[in-house]
């Protein structure tokens, strides 16, 4: 491979890595919105929380692999607790989006403060496990193993999610609930439990993303801010509740990021929001969205 081709291929894989990471965060957000109608402003905070859990588990056990399993589960549990004891109550009050908005913003602030109280304001570091360090060389292209691992991990999660959604009874209920919640409820299905499950899985996936991103980034209290906004764009443009939309738009934004930086670096950040404004102006519910609130 010539150096120039290698550069383009590398950029494409970078886009894929970031896109998949974004998908892990956005898919949870879109499922939660699509099914429960909740605009979860705390979603990225779960991402950050999981990165901190990861840091802590690594500090205790010295194993990234244990952290990869425990941290997302811990995050998912926190998510379940939040759903069971806070969100569910607020949903019952019937305030609509407005209540969720205030509540989830409140939760995001409390998580941020909790993280600072427990782990301090300084930044923490997580190392790539030794088995994933270094580069692989394929056809003259050097690429870090860890980034390939992120892509692989995300694909596994995507596969598992697709399997649950499209091949199981639970998945069928969830999909049905996305299009018509009341109807499903009328069929005598225990909706609160399904909601709890969806919220737990959504936060768990944000948690996986948090662990995967930790060795590439710095674990610090402001970690949640940026990826949260990007995930929001994905959900909005892809269409609320649409998993397919989340996949497509995440990957598109990932590649837009890579090649935008390669060719039009000055305009890259403007493009994202211009794109969002254009899509929404002409397709208000996003590319793959159906439901109108």
């Amino acid at each position: 491979m010539s150096p120039v081709t290698a550069m383009y291929v590398a950029q494409a894989i970078h886009g894929l890595t970031y896109g998949m990471l974004l998908f892990l965060v956005a898919s949870g957000l879109t499922l939660i919105f699509g099914m429960m109608g909740i605009l979860n402003l705390a979603h990225a905070s779960f991402f950050m929380l999981s990165a901190y859990f990861c840091y802590q588990v690594v500090a205790w056990t010295d194993s990234f692999w244990i952290a990869l399993i425990l941290a997302p589960i811990g995050t998912g549990l926190v998510g379940i607790i939040v759903e069971r004891f806070l969100l569910r109550k607020v949903q019952k009050l019937g305030l609509g989006h407005i209540g969720d908005l205030l509540l989830t913003l409140g939760i995001a602030l409390v998580i941020s403060e909790a993280v600072k109280t427990i782990w301090g304001t300084e930044s923490h570091q997580v190392l790539i496990p030794p088995s994933l360090q270094g580069l692989v060389t394929v056809a003259g292209l050097e690429y870090p193993i860890y980034r390939l691992f992120i892509i692989g991990l995300s694909l596994v999660i995507l596969g598992a999610l697709a399997f649950i959604l499209f091949k199981t009874r639970l998945g069928m209920i969830i999909r049905a609930a996305v299009s018509d919640r009341d109807m499903v409820s009328a069929l005598g299905i225990n909706m609160p439990r399904v909601f709890m499950f969806v919220f737990g899985v959504g936060t768990l996936m944000a948690g996986v993303a948090g662990v995967a991103a930790a060795p590439m980034l710095t674990v610090f209290p402001g970690l949640a801010d940026q990826i949260g906004l990007d995930a929001f764009v994905v959900v909005v443009v892809g269409g609320f509740g649409s998993l397919l939309g989340a996949v497509v738009v995440s990957l598109f934004l990932g590649e837009l990021n890579s090649f935008g930086i390669q060719f039009i670096p000055r305009l890259a950040p403007v493009l994202v929001f211009l794109f969002m404004a254009l899509v929404l102006s002409f397709k208000p519910m996003g590319f793959f969205g159906e439901r109108d609130e």
Binding site: P3, V4, M7, A10, Q11, H14, G15, T17, Y18, L21, S112, K116, G120, T121, E122, S123, H124, Q125, V126, L127, I128, L135, E142, P144, Y146, R147, A213, M216, L217, T218, F220, P221, G222, D225, Q226, I227, N257, S258, I261, Q262, P265, R266, P269
Partner: protein, 445 residues
């Protein structure tokens, strides 16, 4: 008769010369003397005891809450250190009597509107004698406005924009001891022009005003000192970026020998970390990537070859500076608790060093003015020369209140006398002040 006149005039000349030697040191300004420093072994940054009664008050404007609260912690310890030392020496002379130093927090929350409120509260309610801070030029501008309005001295110690002291923004109450972007640009260019090892530079900066003006200054510096050098590419990434890979891949393909970056943390640390993960081993010339906690995660190998440029630098060959550093380190090893027990606080280098140094200077100026009357302080501080911790010369340029000082560059190596967890600088290269000047601000032209 003529002979008498001649001898008399010679005598007068002698007297004048002698008196110059006597008065000279007194006029020349202050000095940090390590032997005067009090025994700091009882200094506890977690439980700083403010004196009570009629005190001299410093209002520290920083982010003390929210995600950026670490900033506040950092400058809390530096200000309290100086206050503790001076208090044990008996305080400073204000209006004919010795006053102890009290340090009061002003939480800016990193927002302009809150910064204004916090500054006004410090001035009007807490009645501070001097305002101290802050990171972020847009916030520094807000405080400059408050200082101007209520005629209060503002020691601007942390913001770097060249425009802060230009014709439009200058006010006589503000004194900037932080170096500015032009100085950074010239320092970097001069260092590489003397070294003559690398010729191809790539610029990666944060996509906001500061990042862009830093890049401009660096390019200007290269034209001035090192015209043979070439900028092979430049990129600007959003603040708190997540993925630096696309920038690094571009930089690598450009054949750059050095990447110049003005990124502060966490961006700067993530940039170097991801570069090493991607197998991009180009050295980074930087001004903020000297934070040991972030660098220890990259390890000794990955941090080798980084070139740090700074206005204050620990230098193992500087006896005075080293003696001060060792006193600090001793307390760090034996006394301090979280958050002041991490690698960041091990040595008073970089940011910590110049914050401590310039705070000593500020109090020395007030002491020599003998008053907190701004007019008297301005008279002393304008054109003042102070000898810093390492015996280095600090001058407050009278025309625009901006500091003129030598600056430093160092290349990170391993092993080094500072850390076992990471590479760090041993040889310090001094860039003389006249080679790294701030732009001419208000009243200078």
């Amino acid at each position: 008769m003529r002979k008498v006149l001649k001898s008399v005039s010679f005598f007068i000349f002698l007297c004048l010369t002698a008196s110059l030697f006597l008065i000279g040191p007194a006029l020349a300004g202050g000095e940090f003397k390590l032997e005067d420093m009090s025994d700091m072994s009882d200094f506890d940054p977690n439980n700083f005891q403010n004196p009570t009664g009629d005190t001299f008050k410093i209002g520290v404007l920083q982010i003390f809450s929210g995600p950026g609260a670490g900033n506040g912690e950092l400058f809390w310890i530096t200000t309290c250190w100086v206050a503790h030392d001076i208090n044990k020496r008996g305080g400073i002379m204000i209006d004919g009597k010795k006053k102890l130093i009290e340090v009061i927090k002003g939480d800016t929350m990193g927002k302009p509107a809150t910064t204004k409120k916090a500054a006004e509260k410090l001035v009007l309610e807490d009645k501070v004698d001097v305002l101290w801070g802050t990171s972020g030029s847009h916030l520094a501008l807000v405080i400059q406005g408050v200082a101007d309005r209520y005629k209060k001295i503002f020691h601007q110690s942390l913001s770097m924009s060249d425009s802060l002291m230009d014709e439009k923004n200058f006010n006589k109450y503000t004194f900037q001891t932080m170096w500015s972007t032009n100085q950074v640009g010239e320092t970097t260019a001069y260092f590489y022009s003397q070294r003559k090892k690398e010729k191809k530079f790539y610029i990666i900066c944060q996509d906001y005003l500061f990042g862009h003006s830093l890049a401009e200054s660096f390019k200007k510096g290269l034209t001035k000192y090192y015209p043979e050098a070439e900028v092979v590419g430049e990129d600007y990434h959003p603040l708190f970026a997540k993925d630096f890979a696309p920038y690094l891949t571009k930089a690598k393909a450009s054949g750059a020998e050095v990447i110049f970056t003005g990124d502060w943390l966490p961006d700067g640390g993530n940039l170097v970390k991801q570069a090493r993960q991607l197998g991009v081993n180009v050295p980074f010339a930087n001004i903020f990537i000297d934070e040991p906690n972030a660098l220890s995660a990259i390890g000794p190998e990955g941090t080798k070859g980084l070139v740090n440029l700074n206005q204050y630098m620990g230098d193992a060959n500087n006896e005075k500076g080293m003696a001060f550093g060792n006193k600090w380190k001793e307390l760090w090893e034996t006394k301090w608790e979280a958050p002041y027990n991490t690698l960041l606080y091990k040595w008073p280098g970089g940011t910590i060093g110049y914050a401590v140094e310039t705070t000593y200077w500020m109090l020395d100026v007030f002491n020599r003015a003998g008053s907190s009357d701004p007019e008297k302080v301005i008279k002393v501080w304008e054109g003042d020369v102070y000898k810093g911790i390492g015996g280095n010369r600090l001058e407050m340029r009278a025309c625009d209140h901006v500091v003129i000082r030598d600056t430093y560059a160092t290349e990170y190596v391993y092993p080094n006398p500072w850390f076992t967890e990471l590479s760090s600088g041993t040889e310090v290269f001094t860039i003389p002040a006249e080679k790294s000047m701030p732009v001419d601000g208000a009243r200078c032209k």
